[in-house]
Amino acid sequence: MENPYEQVHQNILSRIINNVERLNESVVTLNQELQHINARNSNLEIMGQMCENYHKSVQFNMSATGHKQSPL
Protein backbone atom coordinates (compact mmCIF):
# COMPACT_ATOMS: atom_id res chain seq x y z
CA MET A 1 0.00 0.00 0.00
CA GLU A 2 1.28 3.39 -0.97
CA ASN A 3 1.93 5.73 1.86
CA PRO A 4 -0.15 8.87 1.23
CA TYR A 5 2.27 11.02 3.21
CA GLU A 6 5.26 10.06 1.17
CA GLN A 7 4.46 12.40 -1.66
CA VAL A 8 3.83 15.24 0.74
CA HIS A 9 7.13 14.63 2.49
CA GLN A 10 8.99 14.57 -0.76
CA ASN A 11 7.43 17.82 -1.83
CA ILE A 12 8.31 19.53 1.41
CA LEU A 13 11.83 18.14 1.30
CA SER A 14 12.35 19.46 -2.21
CA ARG A 15 11.15 22.85 -1.07
CA ILE A 16 13.53 22.71 1.87
CA ILE A 17 16.38 21.87 -0.44
CA ASN A 18 15.55 24.80 -2.67
CA ASN A 19 15.34 27.08 0.30
CA VAL A 20 18.69 25.93 1.61
CA GLU A 21 20.27 26.57 -1.76
CA ARG A 22 18.90 30.08 -1.92
CA LEU A 23 19.94 30.69 1.66
CA ASN A 24 23.42 29.49 0.91
CA GLU A 25 23.68 31.85 -2.02
CA SER A 26 22.57 34.78 0.04
CA VAL A 27 24.99 33.91 2.81
CA VAL A 28 27.79 33.72 0.28
CA THR A 29 26.82 37.14 -0.98
CA LEU A 30 26.80 38.48 2.53
CA ASN A 31 30.19 36.97 3.18
CA GLN A 32 31.65 38.60 0.10
CA GLU A 33 30.24 41.92 1.14
CA LEU A 34 31.68 41.58 4.61
CA GLN A 35 35.06 40.58 3.30
CA HIS A 36 35.09 43.59 1.07
CA ILE A 37 34.22 45.86 3.95
CA ASN A 38 36.83 44.24 6.14
CA ALA A 39 39.52 44.74 3.56
CA ARG A 40 38.64 48.37 3.26
CA ASN A 41 38.33 48.88 6.96
CA SER A 42 41.73 47.47 7.63
CA ASN A 43 43.20 50.55 6.05
CA LEU A 44 41.07 52.70 8.26
CA GLU A 45 42.15 50.75 11.29
CA ILE A 46 45.79 51.22 10.39
CA MET A 47 45.15 54.90 10.05
CA GLY A 48 43.65 54.95 13.50
CA GLN A 49 46.60 53.12 14.91
CA MET A 50 48.96 55.56 13.32
CA CYS A 51 47.00 58.47 14.73
CA GLU A 52 47.05 56.90 18.15
CA ASN A 53 50.77 56.32 18.02
CA TYR A 54 51.28 59.85 16.82
CA HIS A 55 49.21 61.13 19.70
CA LYS A 56 51.16 59.05 22.16
CA SER A 57 54.49 60.23 20.85
CA VAL A 58 53.35 63.82 20.83
CA GLN A 59 52.16 63.54 24.39
CA PHE A 60 55.38 61.93 25.46
CA ASN A 61 57.52 64.50 23.76
CA MET A 62 55.51 67.38 25.08
CA SER A 63 55.63 66.08 28.61
CA ALA A 64 59.31 65.26 28.31
CA THR A 65 60.20 68.70 27.08
CA GLY A 66 57.88 70.41 29.52
CA HIS A 67 55.77 72.08 26.87
CA LYS A 68 52.62 70.23 27.70
CA GLN A 69 49.78 72.49 28.65
CA SER A 70 46.40 71.81 30.08
CA PRO A 71 43.54 71.77 27.60
CA LEU A 72 41.84 75.05 26.99
Binding site: I12, I16, V27, E33, A39, R40, N43, Q49, S57
Partner: protein
Amino acid sequence: MAEESLERLDQEITLHLQQIDSNLSYCFSKITQDVIPHVTKYGAVCDKAMDSSNWLKVMFQHAGNLQIDSVTGPQQQQQQQAPEAAENGSLQTLFPEKSRLSPASSSILAPPTAAPHQRPAAGLPVPDLNVTTTTTGKVLQLPDSSDDELGDAADRDPTDRSTTAHSRNDPDGSTLQRQRRKRKLSLLLQQQFGSSSSSVAPSPAQIKRRASSTIDSSPMRKDLASHADSTKQQGVQPGTVIYFPTRDETS
Protein backbone atom coordinates in the same frame (compact mmCIF):
# COMPACT_ATOMS: atom_id res chain seq x y z
CA MET B 1 -3.57 0.92 16.72
CA ALA B 2 -0.27 0.72 14.90
CA GLU B 3 -1.75 2.38 11.85
CA GLU B 4 -3.06 5.23 13.91
CA SER B 5 0.25 5.88 15.52
CA LEU B 6 1.94 5.65 12.14
CA GLU B 7 -0.39 8.20 10.68
CA ARG B 8 0.14 10.45 13.63
CA LEU B 9 3.86 10.18 13.20
CA ASP B 10 3.55 11.01 9.54
CA GLN B 11 1.52 14.05 10.34
CA GLU B 12 4.05 15.16 12.89
CA ILE B 13 6.83 14.68 10.39
CA THR B 14 4.95 16.75 7.87
CA LEU B 15 4.40 19.45 10.43
CA HIS B 16 8.04 19.56 11.41
CA LEU B 17 9.15 19.63 7.81
CA GLN B 18 6.85 22.53 7.12
CA GLN B 19 8.24 24.32 10.13
CA ILE B 20 11.76 23.78 8.91
CA ASP B 21 10.79 25.05 5.51
CA SER B 22 9.15 28.15 6.88
CA ASN B 23 12.13 28.85 9.11
CA LEU B 24 14.53 28.55 6.23
CA SER B 25 12.48 30.80 4.01
CA TYR B 26 12.21 33.34 6.81
CA CYS B 27 15.94 33.23 7.27
CA PHE B 28 16.50 33.72 3.57
CA SER B 29 14.16 36.67 3.36
CA LYS B 30 15.68 38.19 6.46
CA ILE B 31 19.16 37.99 5.08
CA THR B 32 18.32 39.21 1.61
CA GLN B 33 15.97 42.00 2.58
CA ASP B 34 17.30 43.22 5.87
CA VAL B 35 20.88 42.27 6.42
CA ILE B 36 22.46 42.73 3.03
CA PRO B 37 21.14 46.25 2.35
CA HIS B 38 22.28 47.41 5.73
CA VAL B 39 25.68 45.86 5.23
CA THR B 40 25.92 47.57 1.87
CA LYS B 41 25.02 50.87 3.47
CA TYR B 42 27.64 50.28 6.12
CA GLY B 43 30.19 49.69 3.41
CA ALA B 44 29.25 52.95 1.78
CA VAL B 45 29.66 54.74 5.10
CA CYS B 46 33.04 53.16 5.58
CA ASP B 47 34.04 54.31 2.13
CA LYS B 48 33.00 57.82 3.02
CA ALA B 49 35.02 57.68 6.21
CA MET B 50 37.99 56.40 4.28
CA ASP B 51 37.64 59.21 1.78
CA SER B 52 37.42 61.85 4.42
CA SER B 53 40.46 60.55 6.21
CA ASN B 54 42.44 60.39 3.02
CA TRP B 55 44.48 63.41 3.98
CA LEU B 56 45.78 61.48 6.96
CA LYS B 57 47.05 58.84 4.61
CA VAL B 58 48.82 61.44 2.55
CA MET B 59 50.28 63.01 5.64
CA PHE B 60 51.65 59.76 6.98
CA GLN B 61 52.96 58.85 3.57
CA HIS B 62 54.99 61.99 3.36
CA ALA B 63 56.03 61.72 6.97
CA GLY B 64 57.25 58.15 6.76
CA ASN B 65 58.55 58.22 3.18
CA LEU B 66 56.43 55.25 2.23
CA GLN B 67 53.86 54.51 -0.37
CA ILE B 68 50.45 53.50 0.91
CA ASP B 69 48.21 52.48 -1.90
CA SER B 70 44.52 52.62 -1.31
CA VAL B 71 42.67 49.40 -0.77
CA THR B 72 40.09 50.02 -3.44
CA GLY B 73 41.57 47.30 -5.61
CA PRO B 74 39.85 44.00 -6.20
CA GLN B 75 39.57 41.55 -3.45
CA GLN B 76 41.56 38.85 -5.12
CA GLN B 77 44.70 40.90 -5.21
CA GLN B 78 44.48 41.41 -1.50
CA GLN B 79 44.00 37.76 -0.89
CA GLN B 80 46.97 36.97 -3.07
CA GLN B 81 49.22 39.48 -1.46
CA ALA B 82 48.17 38.81 2.07
CA PRO B 83 50.29 35.66 2.54
CA GLU B 84 53.27 37.49 1.10
CA ALA B 85 52.84 40.14 3.67
CA ALA B 86 52.51 37.57 6.38
CA GLU B 87 55.95 36.32 5.52
CA ASN B 88 57.53 39.72 5.95
CA GLY B 89 58.00 40.59 9.54
CA SER B 90 58.92 44.21 9.20
CA LEU B 91 56.88 47.07 10.44
CA GLN B 92 55.80 48.12 6.99
CA THR B 93 53.79 44.97 6.57
CA LEU B 94 50.98 46.78 8.26
CA PHE B 95 49.90 47.52 4.71
CA PRO B 96 49.71 44.08 3.23
CA GLU B 97 48.09 44.81 -0.06
CA LYS B 98 50.41 47.55 -1.14
CA SER B 99 53.72 48.02 -2.79
CA ARG B 100 55.18 49.83 0.10
CA LEU B 101 58.07 51.81 -1.13
CA SER B 102 58.30 53.45 -4.45
CA PRO B 103 61.75 53.17 -6.00
CA ALA B 104 62.27 56.88 -5.55
CA SER B 105 61.71 56.71 -1.84
CA SER B 106 63.88 53.65 -1.47
CA SER B 107 66.63 55.42 -3.29
CA ILE B 108 66.19 58.28 -0.90
CA LEU B 109 66.58 56.02 2.05
CA ALA B 110 69.51 54.23 0.55
CA PRO B 111 72.92 55.44 1.51
CA PRO B 112 74.80 56.98 -1.39
CA THR B 113 77.77 54.73 -0.93
CA ALA B 114 75.61 51.67 -1.41
CA ALA B 115 74.20 52.86 -4.70
CA PRO B 116 76.97 51.63 -7.03
CA HIS B 117 76.78 48.22 -5.39
CA GLN B 118 73.06 47.95 -5.63
CA ARG B 119 72.61 48.93 -9.22
CA PRO B 120 74.48 46.01 -10.78
CA ALA B 121 72.85 43.68 -8.30
CA ALA B 122 69.43 44.86 -9.33
CA GLY B 123 70.44 44.50 -12.97
CA LEU B 124 70.97 40.80 -12.66
CA PRO B 125 68.10 39.12 -14.46
CA VAL B 126 68.30 35.61 -13.10
CA PRO B 127 68.40 35.98 -9.31
CA ASP B 128 65.33 38.20 -9.34
CA LEU B 129 63.25 35.15 -10.09
CA ASN B 130 64.38 33.43 -6.95
CA VAL B 131 63.90 36.43 -4.79
CA THR B 132 60.59 37.41 -3.36
CA THR B 133 60.06 40.93 -4.54
CA THR B 134 59.49 42.49 -1.21
CA THR B 135 58.94 45.93 0.05
CA THR B 136 62.03 47.96 -0.38
CA GLY B 137 64.26 45.78 -2.43
CA LYS B 138 66.53 45.33 0.52
CA VAL B 139 66.02 41.63 0.60
CA LEU B 140 66.76 41.48 -3.09
CA GLN B 141 70.39 42.16 -2.51
CA LEU B 142 71.17 39.42 -0.07
CA PRO B 143 70.69 36.50 -2.45
CA ASP B 144 72.72 38.40 -5.01
CA SER B 145 75.59 38.58 -2.62
CA SER B 146 75.24 34.88 -2.00
CA ASP B 147 75.35 34.36 -5.75
CA ASP B 148 78.51 36.36 -5.82
CA GLU B 149 79.88 34.07 -3.20
CA LEU B 150 79.31 31.13 -5.46
CA GLY B 151 82.09 32.56 -7.53
CA ASP B 152 80.84 32.29 -11.10
CA ALA B 153 82.33 35.33 -12.69
CA ALA B 154 81.06 34.37 -16.11
CA ASP B 155 77.45 34.60 -15.02
CA ARG B 156 77.70 38.17 -14.07
CA ASP B 157 76.42 41.08 -16.05
CA PRO B 158 78.76 43.53 -17.70
CA THR B 159 77.51 46.13 -15.28
CA ASP B 160 78.52 43.91 -12.45
CA ARG B 161 81.88 43.31 -14.07
CA SER B 162 82.51 47.00 -14.27
CA THR B 163 82.29 47.25 -10.52
CA THR B 164 84.25 44.12 -9.82
CA ALA B 165 86.79 44.42 -12.60
CA HIS B 166 89.55 45.78 -10.46
CA SER B 167 89.06 43.12 -7.87
CA ARG B 168 89.07 40.30 -10.41
CA ASN B 169 92.19 41.48 -12.18
CA ASP B 170 94.12 41.64 -8.99
CA PRO B 171 95.88 38.56 -7.74
CA ASP B 172 94.41 39.33 -4.37
CA GLY B 173 90.95 39.64 -5.86
CA SER B 174 89.45 37.10 -3.52
CA THR B 175 90.24 39.12 -0.46
CA LEU B 176 89.03 42.29 -2.08
CA GLN B 177 85.84 40.61 -3.14
CA ARG B 178 85.36 39.31 0.33
CA GLN B 179 85.85 42.74 1.75
CA ARG B 180 83.42 44.15 -0.74
CA ARG B 181 80.85 41.53 0.13
CA LYS B 182 81.26 42.25 3.78
CA ARG B 183 80.82 45.91 3.13
CA LYS B 184 77.73 45.29 1.03
CA LEU B 185 76.19 43.03 3.62
CA SER B 186 76.86 45.50 6.37
CA LEU B 187 75.38 48.27 4.31
CA LEU B 188 72.32 46.18 3.59
CA LEU B 189 71.87 45.28 7.20
CA GLN B 190 72.28 48.87 8.17
CA GLN B 191 69.80 49.94 5.58
CA GLN B 192 67.30 47.27 6.45
CA PHE B 193 67.29 47.78 10.16
CA GLY B 194 67.71 51.50 9.93
CA SER B 195 64.92 52.31 7.53
CA SER B 196 62.38 49.82 8.75
CA SER B 197 62.13 51.55 12.08
CA SER B 198 59.93 54.38 11.03
CA SER B 199 58.14 54.74 14.32
CA VAL B 200 61.08 54.18 16.58
CA ALA B 201 63.72 56.79 17.12
CA PRO B 202 66.15 56.36 14.25
CA SER B 203 69.71 55.32 14.70
CA PRO B 204 72.56 57.75 14.21
CA ALA B 205 73.50 55.95 11.02
CA GLN B 206 70.08 56.67 9.64
CA ILE B 207 70.38 60.28 10.61
CA LYS B 208 73.53 60.61 8.62
CA ARG B 209 71.95 58.82 5.74
CA ARG B 210 68.93 61.04 5.64
CA ALA B 211 70.95 64.16 5.85
CA SER B 212 73.21 63.06 3.04
CA SER B 213 70.48 61.50 0.95
CA THR B 214 68.70 64.80 0.49
CA ILE B 215 71.45 65.73 -1.91
CA ASP B 216 70.45 63.01 -4.31
CA SER B 217 66.75 63.54 -4.07
CA SER B 218 64.45 65.46 -6.31
CA PRO B 219 64.32 69.27 -6.19
CA MET B 220 60.96 69.17 -4.44
CA ARG B 221 62.38 67.07 -1.71
CA LYS B 222 65.40 69.31 -1.60
CA ASP B 223 63.23 72.27 -0.95
CA LEU B 224 61.35 70.44 1.72
CA ALA B 225 64.55 69.28 3.29
CA SER B 226 66.05 72.74 3.18
CA HIS B 227 62.97 74.15 4.83
CA ALA B 228 62.70 71.55 7.50
CA ASP B 229 66.36 70.84 7.88
CA SER B 230 66.89 72.44 11.24
CA THR B 231 63.86 70.79 12.80
CA LYS B 232 64.82 67.47 11.32
CA GLN B 233 68.28 67.63 12.75
CA GLN B 234 66.94 68.49 16.14
CA GLY B 235 64.13 66.02 16.18
CA VAL B 236 66.23 63.13 15.10
CA GLN B 237 68.82 63.13 17.79
CA PRO B 238 67.61 61.45 20.94
CA GLY B 239 67.80 63.39 24.09
CA THR B 240 67.80 66.83 22.54
CA VAL B 241 65.26 69.40 23.55
CA ILE B 242 62.80 70.41 20.90
CA TYR B 243 62.06 74.10 20.85
CA PHE B 244 58.69 75.00 19.48
CA PRO B 245 57.99 78.46 18.12
CA THR B 246 54.98 78.92 20.36
CA ARG B 247 57.07 78.57 23.46
CA ASP B 248 59.59 81.03 22.09
CA GLU B 249 56.86 83.53 21.45
CA THR B 250 55.30 83.16 24.85
CA SER B 251 58.58 83.20 26.71
